[in-house]
């Protein structure tokens, strides 16, 4: 018979023996506040839209010049000759990302398993903060470290100066460890508690339990973690710029200079103008869409996971 919130008629008239009516002022104040909060929450959406629209608006003309096909599949990126084909850059990003995942993902998953299944509480108290702090180290410091430590070692191994895919992959691998390790550990921890004990009770060793029971059970969470680590590697900029050598050419070996989508933007942005600058914004909008796509993928996976369990 009544709206349980009683808000439909907010008239300040007294009912019967002094139950106060909600005053219009109170009602308006509460409603106003709610809308202010909503406005703030919508800022996140507005922010994303603004980034997409503005970067897209600046990058849009690549459709005409050099044209979408020439932009996406063009094999040469050369500001001097006005050629803006991003295939070499995309290949570069692909190479260092795969390299980083090959080195970093096993290390990160191993660290996560170590933290959740093997380490004693005392050791965990050291390792977990270390992982978290690794996430906080600025990328320019990683780049600097890569430049002065990793690059000379890479030079020994591959010949040349050491600028290139190997150095970039190693540095990126270290940088994605915290992302993947933290999320994998969460996934392992959320495995139903009984399974672990059941496996041990059947005489399985620790490793068998990890390998045959826990990792499969945490599979979707681990895939999420790897996807987000991949996103981090694709988007990482400063550390790559400092060790990759920054030559927009196709992959010619681990020791040869290379450029990625992100590094090329940093290198060129300081002097680019006209079509060149437009092409850089074109690169940025591609990065934006990749990261949005990865987020959507992770969300779809977690919905799938929620449905299954």
């Amino acid at each position: 018979m009544t709206d349980p919130h009683g808000r439909d008629e907010a008239t300040p008239v007294s009912a019967g023996s002094g139950l106060k009516m909600m005053s219009r002022a109170t009602y308006l104040k509460e409603a106003l506040l709610k809308n202010v909060f909503l406005l703030c929450a919508v800022m996140a959406v507005a922010g994303v839209a603004l980034i997409f629209l503005f970067v897209g608006y600046r990058g849009w003309p690549v459709i005409q010049n050099p044209g979408l096909g020439a932009f996406l599949f063009g094999a040469e990126w050369s500001a001097t000759y006005g050629k803006f084909g991003i295939a070499p850059l995309v290949t570069g990003t692909l190479v260092v990302t795969i390299g980083a995942l090959l080195l970093g993902a096993p290390l990160a998953i191993g660290t996560a398993v170590f933290l959740s299944e093997i380490a004693t509480p005392g050791i965990r108290r050291i390792v977990r903060p270390a992982v978290e702090m690794l996430a906080g180290v600025p990328s320019v410091v990683f780049g600097f470290f890569g430049l002065v430590i990793i690059r000379p070692i890479a030079a020994e191994m591959t010949g040349g100066m050491g600028f290139g895919a190997l150095s970039a992959s190693v540095i990126l691998a270290v940088m994605i460890v915290p992302t993947i390790a933290t999320l994998t550990e969460d996934a392992l921890r959320s495995v139903v508690p009984g399974i672990r004990e059941a496996s041990y009770a059947m005489g399985a060793t620790t490793w068998q339990t990890i390998y045959k029971v826990l990792l499969p059970a945490a599979k979707i969470g681990i895939i999420d973690a790897i996807i987000l680590g991949m996103g981090r590697a694709i988007g990482e900029t400063m550390a790559v710029v400092m060790v990759a050598g920054n030559a927009p050419q196709f992959f010619k070996g681990l020791g040869a200079p290379i450029a990625t989508v992100t590094s090329q933007i940093v290198i060129d942005m300081s002097y680019a103008s006209g079509d060149h600058r437009t092409a850089l914004f074109g690169l940025a909008i591609i990065l934006f869409m990749i990261s949005m796509g990865l987020v959507a993928l992770v969300r779809a996976l977690s919905r799938l996971n929620a449905k299954r369990s």
Partner: protein, 272 residues
């Protein structure tokens, strides 16, 4: 009042006007019909106990009386509840003001994470009292009425959460008394505190009922028998069905000569 069945005649002898008058209350959580056909009068200056097995809707009903259920999305109320003659679900009624007049004590003592003084002063400040001397007086008064003053008068600045469980519960009672409610709803106030504190809270109820109407939900039948003047027995007969008010009357009669078979079964411990 004529619409009230046999139940009403059983306690016509009691004095006092009805404070709460409930007629044909239906309550829904979304699609789930939780309560049906509740009709009851709660008299002023008395203690009324709601008893029944867990899940019988007695707490849900209690929360209808100060519209706490409004905070849960998807709940719906039908029927009529009046407080001193005014329809509490009437159009435009401010649930916030209703809750000031109908205070509530919860199962879990829930002091705010602030000092003892600020806990008790919270309500008065909310409703516009800001003068220090006035607040001091209200706080002292409320703590005295809650039988907590002697224990805390020298540690008013200490955090409310540092008190023992029983003291916390009395602090919550003082906090409610500070806004001078007409009714005090207590939702299993003693189930999370130690036995000596239970005694203190029960004594307190006896002292308070001259000035405040008290409704208590309890699992503990001995407690209902000790503290209440009238008792209402609720029961959900089958899983998934709406719960009903089975019997309502003077506590002494409910416990010695219940008229309904199901009440008797519950009281003698045959189920629930």
């Amino acid at each position: 009042m004529t619409s009230v069945p046999a139940v009403a005649t059983a306690h016509e002898a009691l004095t006092g006007n009805p404070r709460f008058s409930v007629r044909g209350l239906e309550f829904y959580y979304g699609d789930f019909h939780a309560l049906t056909g509740i009709t009851i009068d709660v008299r002023e200056n008395s203690v009324t106990a709601f008893i029944g097995p867990s899940g019988c809707g007695k707490s849900t009903f209690l929360r209808c009386l100060n519209r706490m259920n409004d905070l849960i999305p998807g709940t719906r109320v039908e029927g009529k509840i009046t407080l001193d003659g005014a329809d509490i679900y009437g159009p435009g009624v401010d649930p916030v003001d209703l809750r000031r007049r109908v205070g509530m004590i919860f199962q879990q003592p829930n002091p705010f994470p602030m000092s003892i003084y600020d806990n008790v002063a919270f309500g008065p400040r909310l409703h516009g009292v800001s003068k220090k001397s006035e607040l001091d007086e209200i706080v002292e008064n409320a703590l005295v009425r809650a039988n907590l003053w002697k224990e805390v008068k020298d540690i008013m600045g200490r955090g409310g959460l540092t008190l023992s469980g029983g003291q916390q519960q009395r602090l919550c009672i003082a906090r409610v008394l500070a806004v001078q409610p007409d009714v005090l709803l207590m939702d299993e106030p003693c189930s999370a505190i130690d036995p000596t504190s239970v005694q203190k809270v029960e004594d307190l109820m006896a002292e308070l009922k001259s000035s405040v109407t008290i409704i208590i939900v309890t699992h503990n039948m001995q407690q209902a028998a000790r503290v209440s003047d009238e008792t209402a027995f609720f029961l959900q007969e089958r899983q998934g069905e709406a719960a009903e008010l089975i019997e309502f009357g003077r506590t002494a009669e409910i416990f010695t000569s219940p008229r309904d078979r199901r009440t008797e079964d519950y009281i003698t411990g045959r189920f629930g």
